[in-house]
């Protein structure tokens, strides 16, 4: 296994020490249990946003802790959701009296652990609401299944809901905006090469040199389908056509186009795919009004990308453009 690590068991802890040391102005790292809070937390009277999940998706979520976005992030082991006591302590640490929104990606583990934490927090008298992000159109949705995964839409939701909380919206309003983002955002991903989880030491799936995996998640899960490798334009069309039909997005719609690298994809390929995606959307009369291109929600060193499309309205644009000061997203501060 080719990794710059000392010991698979201490990867996350050592990396968090690094993050805390490099960004001491922005973040505070708490231990026993582990969670990260923004400078100045709790902010009295502001709705607090707490997210979390397995590690290995960096900069998600720790990279989004700060003014205008998350108040706390709760990192689990690599690709493993955090535990209720971590989430509970983070929730209590950032509650400023206006309640706490839990932003949960729709994975059974994340949902169950956040649920247990919320029950415990409510038992202690806190107000907690939750939004479960499930934007991955690669997964067939149904009330009988675990439902769709939360992927790229999470980043956009954390930014927009964070801005709503920063401008003073109350818990119900912030929750409603978060839910509205989730209802208007769709994503799909693909991989050229799998990642290797440190404790396993083996690639999480195998692809031949001329194959790609379509519909992957962010935990090294195999996707829905293995296909022959195709040109970028074709890959983009596979992903975007599914996304566009799902919501559906229609001619005249205003959108935010987010092309995300899975961690091992060079920028030149991401911008090339972004360019291709713009052209595809242009052909459908869909307007790209805001953009995000880069590694924002990753699966360790996986090579591949995901595309996320959010339907915009004036309020979303205003909240997206609002100042933010985190490790991974910074604007106007």
């Amino acid at each position: 296994m080719k990794k710059i690590i000392n010991d698979p068991a201490t990867v996350v802890d050592e990396a968090l020490d690094g993050v805390a040391a490099a960004h001491a102005d922005l973040l505070t790292l708490h231990r026993n249990p582990t969670y990260v809070t923004r400078a100045g937390a709790p902010i009295a009277g502001k709705v607090a946003l707490v997210s979390g999940g397995g590690s290995g998706h960096e900069p998600l979520h720790v990279g989004y802790v700060g003014e205008g976005m998350l108040d706390a992030a709760v990192p689990g082991a690599v690709f493993t959701s955090p535990t209720p006591d971590q989430i509970l302590d983070a929730t209590k640490a950032v509650d400023g009296g206006a309640g706490v929104l839990h932003i949960v990606k729709n994975y059974t583990g994340d949902v169950l652990n956040f649920e247990m934490a919320a029950e415990l927090a409510e038992a202690e008298g806190l107000r907690v609401s939750a939004v479960v992000v499930d934007d991955d159109v690669a997964v067939q949705d149904s009330t009988w299944t675990a439902g769709r995964r939360g992927v790229g839409g999470t980043v956009l939701l954390e930014k927009i809901a964070g801005a709503a909380a920063a401008r003073g919206d109350d818990l119900d309003a912030v929750t409603a905006i978060a839910q509205r983002v989730n209802s208007q955002v769709r994503s799909m991903g693909m991989a050229l090469r799998a990642c290797t989880v440190p404790h396993s030491g083996e690639p999480s799936f195998n692809l031949a040199e001329d194959e790609m995996e379509i519909g992957i998640g962010i935990h090294g899960e195999p996707g829905r389908e293995t296909r022959k490798l195709a040109p970028a334009d074709e890959i983009v069309e596979i992903l975007l056509s599914t996304i566009v039909e799902d919501l559906p997005f229609a001619s005249g719609d205003r959108t935010l186009l987010f092309v995300n690298g899975m961690g091992g994809t060079p920028e030149v390929e991401l911008y090339l795919a972004y360019n291709s995606a713009r052209k595809y959307l242009h052909g459908k009369g869909i307007e790209v009004e805001r953009s995000l291109v880069g590694n924002y929600i990753t699966a360790l060193e996986m090579q591949g990308m995901s595309i996320t499309l959010l339907k915009l309205d004036d309020e979303f644009v205003e909240l997206w453009d609002a100042p933010v000061h985190t490790v991974a997203l910074r604007r106007g501060l």
Binding site: A77, D85, H199, S200, H219, P222
Partner: protein, 217 residues
């Protein structure tokens, strides 16, 4: 000699060793249709349980179960952490203040564990989850207890049913948990959580059996 807290602690210690041993195998199962951490998750949890048991001596079987439950909940994470945690917690509640276990208590504990997991995870039989091992185990345990079996007998019946249930997950298409994302590609693989459930009951049954015959575990 009855099956008391000390007996249960010994069984949990043996279970911890089994989990450590099965770590790689369970992780590999999870790599095929999940995210490749199930063995790692349980190993982390049970190693924390063993550490706690070095400094605590719970007085009742219920307290042993509660210790296991809270430790798993706070160290495992993932889907299996809250689910196994809930299972042990519900089991603990059923045992109440009893100083020793008997067949009926064990069966009631398994039924409560199953009901707790179903309530939390909302999986049904056939969804290709740990429920497919735990539910037949609870049913078999109930039947055995009704037939008058002792702790070892009830656990033996439960373990056998769980093993069969786990094996029977292979041809199913997953509808819950990560494996569900794979749709039809989940078919042909045993569910890791069902398999670990079977190993847990197998280990508990083996401990109870040697306890019954006075063999050291």
């Amino acid at each position: 000699m009855g099956y008391d807290a000390e007996s249960l602690v010994a069984a949990i210690r043996a279970l911890g060793a089994v989990i450590a041993q099965r770590r790689t195998e369970l992780t590999q199962l999870d790599q095929e249709i999940g995210d490749g951490d199930h063995g790692e998750n349980l190993a982390r949890g049970f190693s924390a349980v063993l550490t706690k048991l070095r400094s605590t001596e719970p007085e009742t079987p219920a307290k042993v179960m509660a210790l296991v439950a809270t430790t798993l909940i706070s160290t495992v994470g993932g889907a299996s952490g809250p689910l196994f945690g809930t299972a042990f917690l519900r089991g603990s509640t059923v045992l109440g203040g009893a100083a020793e276990l008997d067949g009926a208590l064990v069966a009631a504990g398994l039924v409560a564990a199953r009901d707790g997991v179903v309530a939390r995870g909302k999986a049904e039989l056939g969804d290709k989850t740990m429920v497919d091992a735990l539910s037949p185990a609870a049913d078999a345990a109930t039947k055995a207890a009704e037939a008058g079996a002792d702790v070892a007998g009830v656990l033996a019946a439960a373990a056998e049913a769980a093993a069969a249930g786990a094996a029977a997950t292979a041809p199913l298409q997953a509808r819950k948990g990560r494996a569900s994302y794979l749709g039809e590609r989940s078919i042909g693989h045993v569910d890791p959580g069902a398999q670990s459930t079977a190993y847990i009951l197998e280990s508990l049954a083996a401990s109870a059996a040697s306890h019954a015959t006075g063999t050291a575990v």
